[in-house]
């Protein structure tokens, strides 16, 4: 870890878009970044804002595909927080 701070936009939807008040938010993580680091930053944000510990049940998508925590991400990727889905 080089510890270089990286600002990454994260698309948010549904309940999260309501909480954030916008269709995206930004997290600050150290480079090189991973999905897990983005998740932890979002969790910290949720705790700080007094939102329920909700991120744990959400998935993260990178470039329109569900991604595991060890997936590397950069500012070039489209990152999205996917709360439990309710289609159908």
């Amino acid at each position: 870890m080089s510890g270089v701070p990286l600002e990454l936009p994260v698309r948010v939807f549904a309940a999260y878009a309501d909480l954030v008040g916008a269709p995206y938010t930004t997290v600050s993580v150290d480079a090189p970044a991973t999905v897990g680091a983005v998740r932890r930053a979002l969790e910290a944000r949720a705790v700080e804002r007094g939102w329920p510990a909700a991120i744990a049940r959400s998935l993260i998508a990178v470039n329109l595909e569900y991604a595991r925590d060890d997936r590397a991400v950069s500012a070039a990727d489209e990152i999205a927080l996917i709360p439990p889905v309710a289609g159908g």
């Binding site: 698309r11 939807f13 549904a14 309940a15 999260y16 309501d18 909480l19 939102w51 329920p52 510990a53 909700a54 991120i55 744990a56 049940r57 959400s58 998508a61 329109l64 595909e65 569900y66 999205a80 996917i82 709360p83 439990p84 889905v85 309710a86 289609g87 159908g88």
Partner: protein, 154 residues
């Protein structure tokens, strides 16, 4: 028209406007398809004992379209040569409105049923679509959301 894989139907889309089930059925109708299964999901008037007056579907459109296309392709591969079409509504819906239509067709009924069932179960499991229910008592809530009043994440 033959039932070879080259001309197999595998279509998936989101719709901002009411879905016409006949059009979805027509998409998979072929002379060789002797079995055609259809699933239509509609908006129910009650959820967890609470009276519902309508709901709003929102989606991560680009990803939902991609995920639905993948599901339809997977369903078509369960049995060789199954034709599958699926349309999911987004936007504001009233009780009884059609939320999703899936049509699957194959020379034989078992493959059609299997593909149809597969698509709806996978849509519910992994397509990034969310619904906010509007209740008769005036409230509303995101269904399944960890921040909804009835749900608590650990």
């Amino acid at each position: 028209m033959t039932s070879g894989t080259s001309d197999r139907v595998a279509t998936a889309s989101l719709s901002q406007t009411p879905i016409d089930p006949a059009a979805v059925i027509a998409a998979v109708s072929k002379p060789g398809n002797g079995g055609l299964a259809v699933f239509i999901g509609t908006v129910r008037d009650v959820a967890d004992g609470r009276s519902v007056v309508g709901l709003d579907y929102s989606a991560y459109v680009e990803m939902a379209e991609r995920e639905m296309a993948a599901i339809v392709a997977e369903a078509g591969n369960l049995d060789d040569g199954t034709d599958v079409a699926a349309v999911h509504r987004i936007g504001s819906l009233a009780i009884g409105d059609i939320a999703v239509v899936i049509a699957a067709a194959h020379p034989h009924r078992a493959a059609a049923f299997d593909a149809c069932r597969y698509v709806i179960e996978e849509i519910k499991r992994r397509v990034p679509i969310w619904k906010a229910e509007r209740y008769a008592d005036g409230g509303d809530a995101w269904v399944g959301s960890p921040v909804a009043p009835t749900e608590h994440a650990s």
